[in-house]
Symmetry: C2
Subunit: 351 residues, 2 copies
């Protein structure tokens, strides 16, 4: 039910063009995955995502576990049916959000104790429990449970954390029994090359359907991120998809595709859209600026998305300034479309 | 460019079925008009409104005058183009919002001085200026500038206000020069039958393309509202559309259509939707209630709207509880559809 085929390799870089087969359809890679944190890509209906070219979305295990609860999603027929998105879905392991959002988390070898950022309720997540939750959610691709360090972190802490991530990766694999779901392992190790390399070797030994580079885009300088991606990407198995978690800007995507990355997710297009920060072929613009008050041109004259075909910058500014819901809808439509078109263009140029 | 034809009159009540011809197309009456306060029906794209059966929307002159300003809408090609809604639009006169939203308003025979509820800036609106703003906006149907009293109001105040409304109606008519826009007069007079009757006579004498009953659903007991509608509706010219402003619930619409009303607008379906209050064939429900947590049925099994065809109550509750934008989108879609279907059914039963 899960297969990765490389169709073409770039002659001028390490970029690859491929196809990922999942129970909910094919994905052309490289691919950008919009983030649907709570079982919805904010402000978008599924049909609108398909219209702008979305092939797969990411949903957050941490959020869905807390609300509405993975049992409810399982009972309702799984995450695809629950949210009316019948194309592929990837769920993360919950690790990143526990370490970035929740309160009073305490890490032991067994797992992580944390308090919900919503109501303070106490929870304990282990690799086995994360996989069980992800089995209940029923995404096409699920992730091993990892500990994510942020930047800066000292070497010894990063090393301990990496060791724990390896241990948890092994337990995640043992816990995963659902043959319809692909399981990806995650490489950690912060910005330390030797830790990253060691972690990569160990994660490959365990063996996964795909490999992710985690713990980047967490505050480190951009050159550190590129350094690690450039180092680790070629060490990952050639015949498996490579996923760079939480990255990035259009330029980040371009660079990292050249380094051999196949999959990306990031909240930038959606979150920025809601804040009025829009990507255009002439650069980023902030739609709230006064200069757009009487600007009756489309947001991006080179774009054929629904927003650019039907509305003016003046109208988009008006919607943003009056805090209208349609502002988020139109802005998100455009930004996601912009990201997909960039990746599509790069994909088609791989030869 | 503006014509009203009555197609059928009900044999058991005063209900009429008609067609309103406007520069942006035909409207089957009786009709419910969703409210698009700031140049957008909150949470809805124009195509989605058309899909649920919206024929005409109302936009608020007060809001659009303050933001983005009627000059900008005029420059951009008019309200239809600005908001990408190419079917009929009605704008109110701004009067109701000045008296309900703005601060420190001072009424004189000349007009109303008020401060913006947004930034406290000072403005002065007269019948002539209201018509000029509505000309700039460019709706198909525009309204005479009136003073709206709220409930309760004493007889003498209501009488003075009614007299001013008549004077302003006359000045509104004189100010209106745009032959592409129909101008409706408004009957005021609070709950006092003799004031209402006098106002009706005077407004008819001035002569308008349609007639509205204003100043109801402003806090008075429901029986007072029905009493006035029942009294005034048959006094209005038979061959002109009759518009009951700001009303109401599905039951209100049913009752008032029987009394001969052709047009309604109200924020109930849209505002309630955003608050999780949904209309169904089995009554109103509040989607945030615990009992919907594991309710995997559609919102309304008898409804074929996009929301009911594709999502469960459990998912709608989840979206509401997590404050997701899609909650407003899906709920508004359903509630507007529900209102249109009720009015459509009544319309088709008129014979």
């Amino acid at each position: 039910m899960f297969e990765f085929k490389i169709i073409k390799k770039d002659t001028k870089s390490n970029a690859r063009r491929g196809v990922l087969l999942t129970p909910h359809g094919e994905i052309q890679t490289p691919v950008f995955m919009p983030v649907g944190t709570q079982g919805t890509v904010k402000a978008m209906k599924p049909e609108e995502l398909i219209e702008v070219g979305t092939q797969i979305i990411l949903a957050n295990t941490y959020h869905l576990y807390l609300r509405p609860g993975d049992e409810i999603i399982k009972e309702s027929g799984g995450i695809h049916k629950f949210m009316n998105w019948h194309k592929p879905i990837l769920t993360d392991s919950g690790g990143f959000q526990i370490f970035s959002l929740s309160k009073l988390n305490k890490v032991s070898e067994e797992g992580v104790a944390f308090q919900s950022h919503i109501d303070g309720s106490k929870h304990f997540l282990t690799p086995e429990r994360s996989i069980e939750i992800q089995n209940n959610l029923g995404a096409d691709i699920i992730m091993a449970f990892d500990e994510c360090t942020f930047y800066p972190v000292n070497y010894n802490t990063a090393k301990e954390s990496m060791s724990l991530t390896i241990e948890w990766a092994s337990r995640s694999k043992n816990a995963q029994k659902n043959k319809f779901q692909a399981l990806f392992g995650i490489v950690q190790g912060s910005i330390f090359s030797d830790l990253r390399e060691h972690c990569t070797e160990e994660i490959i030994k365990i063996g996964f359907d795909g490999y992710a580079i985690g713990g980047l885009s967490v505050g480190e300088p951009k050159e550190e991120m590129f350094k690690i991606v450039k180092q680790i990407s070629p060490l990952l198995p050639e015949d498996k998809p490579r996923y760079l978690m939480g990255v990035g800007t259009p330029d980040d995507l371009k660079e990292c595709i050249k380094m051999g990355i196949d999959m990306f997710d990031c909240v930038i297009p959606t979150r920025n859209a809601r804040n009025g920060k829009l990507f255009t072929s002439e650069g980023e613009i902030n739609i709230k600026q006064n200069k757009y008050t009487r600007d009756y041109r489309p947001l991006d004259e080179k774009c054929d998305c629904y927003t650019c075909k039907n509305y003016s910058r003046a109208y988009l500014r008006h919607l943003y300034m009056t805090n209208e819901i349609l502002s988020s809808i139109l802005n998100t439509t455009h930004n996601i479309c912009f990201f997909h078109k960039i990746v599509k263009k790069i994909r088609e140029e791989i030869c």
